[in-house]
Amino acid sequence: MLICTALSLLPKETSGEYGPIAGYVPVVLLLLIAIAFPVAALAAGRLVRRKVETPEKQIPYECGVDPISDSKDRFSVRYYMIAMLFLVFDVETIFLFPWAVIYDKLGVFGLVEILIFLGILVVGYYYAWRKGALNWV
């Protein structure tokens, strides 16, 4: 019902077809189904399965040996480096998407522009490589 109401409010294009926003309504529908499925599966499981809790069973698995410390421990700083580098490159790819779509209208200007853009990025990439940010271990 809500979907119907929302749909009737959506702007129409001149051709009488529904605009680009209407295309997302099925996405929302399937999203709701996709959320309902795991929730229903968990609920069904809770109804039929038996649960016998013993302290031994609930200990985190460490190959049969009692765990020594908490798992919220320090870990390698490399993961932070990867996260930061990813952020840089990911923002860059966001710029590349619209550029690629209208490339045939940009012509030589588009090529020169992207060479400058990638050139700046490659300098940073080379610096990170030389400083050993990409080395593991």
């Binding site: 019902m1 295309g23 529908l29 959320i35 069973k57 609930q58 698995y61 993961y79 998407f97």
Partner: protein, 356 residues
């Protein structure tokens, strides 16, 4: 609110058939998909067994065809163990976070052109929905899957899980870069982010218009970068470091059992199908094939066949290749695939400008 539905302008509007059409399509896609995912596990075990000169599951039903059903029943009845000191809310949320985006992707994948339903005189497109930024939407949704894995590793209160979750997130973000870079050449040729438009751009010339073959050699280079990155994205052999059983027991899902474990499993297979479908749409012409213009219903057949090839490739790789070491994996992603895809992108742009 109910009155609105039966009001005259509403009944006359083209909305009602549209909503019925969407609901029917979603029903068929979702139902067919869940069955297909279940049988994908059977398929993988059987093929893997034949590669290793075994028989595989062949006892439950004819040729083991009821095995997925038996597995499903077993998953529901197994005890659900939550480890001591685990974050209960995040522990439950993690498999849901991993499964939901994986399943939602399917609404965006086109598997055919439109055909006219006999008797109804209504043109029915063979894709559930048509979004003008389909590629971005798919990548956004598959990117969400990382959250589930990280949360699972963090919430389990297990050192193996934590290591698996960290490794997995680092691996997935690293290969996502190469993956996204490798498809920019395709977008440049098609001039659109719309998956339907990208498929239509590859029509004709007996498959020579597929983006795999256009602008040689950039199409083939891009395709192989995408192929390697998609195997790494879905955490499959030879890049299954997050669940390397020789070092990490089972990685991020060590502590998971019963239905929650099944959800991670379904999500992994759903992601495999999405990645295969994306490779098909972007590089192998989607639903294009012989006679597809005359008989549009052949489109889904070709599409399924192409996706099936990639799924077989996944199993084949698993049966053939040994696992990478973690530093080798990161080196391959950051020091080889990423620069190569950048060079490939510039090469594609140059060819597009001066030779086409």
């Amino acid at each position: 609110m109910p009155l609105l539905l039966f009001s005259q302008p509403f009944m006359d509007s083209p909305l009602i058939p549209l909503i019925i059409e969407w609901s029917l399509k979603i029903f068929f896609i979702f139902g067919g998909l869940m069955t297909a995912l279940a049988y994908l596990t059977w398929f993988e075990r059987r093929v893997l067994a034949y590669i290793q000169m075994r028989l595989g599951p062949n006892r439950v039903g004819p040729a083991g065809l009821l095995q997925p059903l038996a597995d499903g029943i077993k998953f529901i009845f197994k005890e659900d163990i939550v480890p001591l000191d685990a974050d209960k809310f995040l522990y439950t949320l993690a498999p849901i976070m991993s499964l939901v985006p994986a399943l939602t992707c399917y609404v965006l994948l086109p598997f055919g052109d439109k055909f006219v339903m006999p008797g109804l005189n209504r043109e029915i497109p063979l894709h559930i929905t048509h979004v003008n930024v389909g590629v971005l939407a798919i990548f956004a949704l598959t990117g969400m899957g990382v959250y589930g894995i990280v949360l699972a590793g963090y919430a389990s209160n297990n050192k193996y899980s934590l290591m698996g979750g960290l490794r997995s997130s680092a691996q997935m973000v690293s290969y996502e870069l190469a993956m996204v870079m490798s498809i920019i050449g395709v977008l440049l040729q098609a001039g659109s982010l719309d998956l339907v438009e990208i498929c239509k751009h590859q029509a004709g010339w007996f498959g020579m218009q597929w983006h795999l073959f256009t602008y040689p050699p950039t199409g083939i280079i891009g395709f192989f970068i995408f192929l390697i990155a998609m195997v790494a994205e879905t955490n499959r052999v030879p890049f299954d470091l997050p669940e390397a059983e020789t070092e990490l027991v089972a990685g991020f899902h060590t502590e998971y059992s019963s239905m929650k474990f099944a959800m991670f499993f379904i999500a992994e297979y759903a992601n495999m199908v999405t990645a295969s479908a994306m490779a098909t749409i972007l590089f192998l012409g989607g639903w294009m094939g012989p006679f597809v213009d005359q008989f549009p219903l052949l489109g889904p057949v070709y599409f399924t066949a192409k996706v099936g090839f990639f799924l077989f490739l996944y199993v084949w790789l698993r049966g053939t290749l040994p696992r990478y070491r973690y530093d080798q994996l990161m080196n391959l992603g950051w020091k080889f695939l990423l620069p190569l895809s950048l060079v490939n992108l510039v090469l594609t742009a140059t060819i597009a400008l001066f030779f086409m």
